[in-house]
């Protein structure tokens, strides 16, 4: 049996039962990484030596019968836009190619405190801008299900690493679907908790009012394990919530049917939109039947402002991007152009050389949208529409536990097929971005394949009702297994 194909919680049981040591588990994963990485390219930087030291430390704890943290020696992949002390953190960008942070993100501190092992930094679209991991300065990641296809993005490296058994668990970030969509593409579980559930301290921002750390695992139980290890209020992040001082406690007894009596909303706007691929729709319809047969109550609802979600998202996201990217100026850290005569040239040349096309595109759009005279009609109006979208969801969640939709209306696609058409890539975001605009929680759970490619079911919950989403996911998983 290949130990790397087990679920994280199964590995954890083996470690706790002393069937396997943390070092053995780590070495098995390192071997797997060495085997598949030349093709998959899920990692930008590996942390083998430090990881081995950590594994030995944890084995020492086991030997001494000390109590282990939640992650009990499990190897974990970290999206490379999360700061790791003394370990290169690039955001898959040339401008941070050699950036070594002198500090850990709060989530990294929590992983360490829970005896998890950071095995390496995973690939992403440059600064998390993209949906295919193709805009990475370090080359694209391949989808482990079909290596001709993209793994999705922007957390494509983390999703692929879990899918290819390089790690059992990984962290990603989700600004407009960057955890859920790659989870859907790679056939794994991807959970984006409520905004504020996980500290953003040390998470390099793309659009800071939308960004949230998310988790990847092979099943819902894995995702819950990872979430509980990193959630919690952090005084270093003013946007983190005191409500998130959990862990979420859910009875994992297999015989409980969490779908019984659950109230499920289906927005008619998504039904009308529909995926162009009928088989993808059929998969979703099947999933609905599973919910219905298990005793869930399904109702059609309306999110009237959904039609403005994309424009709203792109304006707010770009405006925040333009501001968040300003610190990469070549003055204090990161890449600095070698040739310049004036200060302006230093800025221009550094940023021209350091940023890729997609990053530049978003900086340009955001700078334009925030400029005097336009901000009223674009940025400020978008903030108002964002409130309306939030209110749409509030109305639905007043009477429903969860909302169901596709995680992505499109299947994983071939490399270079969409990147040349940014508008098409943006459109697929309609299923995921409203969740970020409203700060909700949401999870993508595998629901079968079409043409051998995975399709994900998106379960959306109200703010700080992450437990509902997890229960729905557990219920669905049990019903289809």
């Amino acid at each position: 049996m290949d130990i790397t194909s087990l679920k994280a919680w199964e590995m954890k049981e083996k470690i706790l039962n002393k069937e396997i040591s943390s070092r053995e588990l780590l070495e098995a994963h390192i071997k797997k990484i060495e085997e598949v990485e030349p093709e998959i390219n899920a990692f930008i930087t590996l942390n083998k030596e430090e990881a081995l030291k950590e594994a030995e430390r944890i084995d020492e704890k086991i030997k001494n019968n000390e109590e282990l943290g939640l992650l009990a020696g499990l190897p974990i992949g970290i999206k490379d836009n999360i700061a790791t002390k003394n370990l290169r953190t690039t955001c898959a960008s040339k401008i941070l190619e050699n950036f070594i942070p002198p500090y850990n993100a709060t989530v990294i501190e929590k992983i360490k405190a829970n005896d998890g092992i950071v095995i390496g930094k995973t690939n992403l679209d440059e600064f998390a801008m993209g949906g295919s991991t193709e805009t990475s300065y370090f080359g694209p990641t391949k989808n482990p299900i079909n290596k001709n296809m993209v793994p999705g993005g922007s957390s494509g490296g983390s999703a692929a690493a879990v899918g290819a058994n390089e790690v059992p668990l990984a962290l990603g970030t989700d600004t407009g679907g960057s955890v859920r969509q790659p989870a859907s593409f790679c056939g794994v579980v991807g959970l984006k908790p409520t905004y504020g559930m996980i500290s953003r301290y040390g998470v390099i921002p793309m659009a800071n009012t939308l960004d949230q750390v998310g988790v990847f695992g092979r099943d819902v139980k894995d995702a819950l394990l990872m979430l509980n290890a990193v959630t919690g209020y952090d005084m270093k992040d003013s946007t983190s919530s005191k409500k998130s001082d959990l862990p979420i406690s859910i009875d994992l007894n297999e015989r409980i049917n969490y779908l019984e009596g659950m109230t499920v909303a289906i927005p008619k706007e998504y039904i009308e939109l529909g995926p162009s691929n009928k088989e993808v729709q059929a998969q979703f319809d099947n999933a609905l039947k599973v919910f219905e047969n298990s005793g869930a109550k399904i109702e059609i609802v309306s999110l009237p402002h959904l039609e403005y979600a994309l424009e709203t998202y792109y304006i707010i996201m770009s405006c925040e991007v333009s501001s968040n990217m300003s610190r990469y100026d070549g003055i204090r850290f990161g890449h600095r152009a070698e040739e310049y005569n004036t200060l302006d040239e230093l800025y221009k040349n550094t940023r021209t050389e350091g940023f890729g096309e997609e990053v530049k595109r978003r900086i340009m759009v955001g700078t334009y949208a925030l400029s005097k005279g336009l901000a009223e009609e674009s940025y400020k109006k978008a903030l108002k529409v964002r409130t309306l979208i939030k209110q749409d969801f509030d109305r639905v969640f007043a009477n429903h536990d969860i909302i169901l939709s596709l995680a992505s209306p499109i299947l994983p696609y071939e490399f270079n097929s969409v990147i040349n058409d940014p508008i098409e890539m943006y459109k697929a975001d309609l299923y995921t971005v409203p969740v970020n605009l409203a700060g909700l929680c949401s999870m993508s759970v595998p629901m079968g394949t079409v043409d051998g490619l995975p399709v994900g079911l998106q379960i959306i919950g109200d703010r700080f009702k992450d437990a509902n989403v997890i229960k729905a996911g557990l219920g669905y998983e049990r019903a289809v297994l």
């Binding site: 921002p205 992040d237 990469y328 003055i331 925030l370």
Partner: protein
């Protein structure tokens, strides 16, 4: 022709909090470059700002002291621009909703009290400091990056250099009273930009507004305003006008020099900060802060007039600086004579402080020592002139008046036996003066007193000398 000058000020005040506004780095002046920094104030990627409660409290204190209305919501915005001393490519500041709206400061003019109204006060972070080396290198010290600042913006209510000076004096005094800032222009904890233009009161023709930067003393503010007033008027008189531009004050040349012309309006692309969600301010907290404020200069002046029977002018001078007013009241704890103490502080003490260009708290003088000195004078142990000399020695050495008097043997001779001996001796040496006095020349008496004081090396009690001298002469 008659011109009216129109001046608005923008004043940046560094708040003397323990920590920087968004991180835990110490807020200190003068440390070695780049030693008071962390990922947050250096703007390293992923580091997040957390608003310091003390900074907000200090800001609100100032807002209340300047009679402004405190917003019940604190919202932080990003002011986007590129500059090497700005670590994040944006400054976290306040755009549409400042924490304090309106307010005013009253200044005393000869024609009465004038209210200078404030437009707003907002809170923000300071930037780093650029240092240019002789070989053309630019070095940046980020110790100042993230120091809390408030920006006080006045309405264009100020009409002369003198009014500007009075306004700034008052503003500084109030900030010192409430203890929220060191308000030292030379250390940059108080910085002032001037917006100025003139209007012809007959034709209503206005000059274009000039902004003056780089003013590092109140004197410079006064001189720059006077220089600009003249320049604006001269240009209008010549049928020309000023350009919309930013100028800086050149201290050595004594003139303003153009820095840059203003084309259009600058665009800072303000946006919500997002990392610091809006904070609701409880009315109780504002009330608590209001109650914690010390007595402000105006109220203290009124009290001094009533309680100590001082003149309006004296009370004004004594309350202009918080430290001076405390010094005055502390001295009164040891000697119950407000007139005497006020006279000495207003006279010799302030003269000395002005000469040394220092504040009372920076001098060697202690309230208890001044009181002791005044008691020595009042009790006739030393005379007034000796007292002045002792005070000088106290400033120079910090010694107590009694030590000085003892060391120098300055105790006044009030012993009649000893005095009689000196008087007799002087009279025997100046027979002619006795004759002159008896022949009606009163001046001769003055001469004799002088000789006696000299012979006693200034220690003779003058009142006693006068009395005894007359008695002895008349007996002869």
């Amino acid at each position: 022709m008659a011109y009216k000058t129109i001046i608005g000020l923008e004043i940046h005040v560094e708040l003397a909090t323990k920590h920087k506004i968004f991180c835990n780095c110490p807020n200190e002046y003068g440390a070695e470059a780049n030693t008071l920094v962390c990922p947050i104030c250096l703007g390293l990627p992923g580091a997040l700002p957390v608003l310091d409660k003390e900074a907000l409290e200090y800001g609100i204190k100032a807002g209340i002291a300047f009679n402004g209305s405190i917003s019940n919501i604190i919202k932080m915005d990003r002011k986007n621009y590129f500059y090497p001393d700005l670590t994040k490519g944006y400054q976290i500041s306040q755009a549409e909703i400042p924490f304090c709206d309106g307010g005013y400061i009253e200044i005393e003019l000869e024609e009465g009290t004038k209210k200078i109204t404030l437009n707003r006060i907002h809170i923000e972070e300071d930037t780093g400091k650029q240092l240019h080396s002789e070989d053309g290198m630019t070095l940046i010290d980020f110790n100042r990056a993230g120091v809390p600042l408030i920006e006080i913006v006045t309405n264009p209510d100020i009409n002369s250099a003198e009014e500007a000076k009075l306004f700034l004096d008052k503003l500084r005094a109030i900030l010192k009273y409430i203890g929220v800032s060191n308000v030292k222009m030379e250390e940059g904890s108080l910085r002032c930009d001037v917006n100025i233009n003139v209007v012809n009161t007959k034709s209503n023709v206005k000059s274009n507004i000039t902004e003056i930067k780089n003013l590092n003393s109140f004197k410079a503010v006064v001189k720059a305003i006077e220089f600009e007033e003249k320049r604006h008027i001269e240009l209008l008189e010549a049928g020309s006008n000023t350009d919309r531009e930013t100028r800086r004050w050149d201290e050595t040349k004594g003139e303003t020099i153009i820095m840059r012309k203003k084309f259009g309006v600058s665009d800072y692309r303000f946006a919500e900060d997002g990392d610091i969600p809006p904070i609701k301010i409880a009315g109780e907290w504002i009330e608590e802060i209001r109650k914690s404020l010390p007595e402000l200069p105006h109220a203290k002046k009124e009290r001094f007039i009533k309680e100590y029977n001082l003149s309006d002018y004296d009370a004004g001078v004594l309350t202009q600086s918080k430290e001076l007013s405390i010094f005055f009241e502390d001295t009164l704890k040891y000697i119950d004579d407000s007139k005497l103490v006020s006279n000495w502080i207003m006279g010799d003490v302030l003269r000395r402080l002005n000469d040394d260009e220092i504040e009372i708290e920076e001098s060697n003088l202690k309230p208890k020592d001044l009181a002791e000195l005044l008691i020595l004078i009042r009790d006739g142990k030393i005379n007034n002139n000796t007292g002045k000399k002792v005070l000088k020695e106290m400033f120079d050495t910090g010694k107590s008046p009694e030590t000085i008097v003892k060391e120098k043997g300055l105790i006044q001779i009030s012993d009649e036996g000893a005095l009689k001996e000196i008087i007799e001796k002087v009279l025997s040496e100046n027979e002619q003066s006795i004759i002159d006095y008896k022949n009606g020349k009163d001046r001769a008496l003055g001469f004799l007193v002088g000789q006696i004081m000299k012979a006693s090396r200034g220690k003779a009690n003058p009142q006693l000398v006068n009395k005894m001298l007359l008695e002895i002469i008349n007996e002869r």
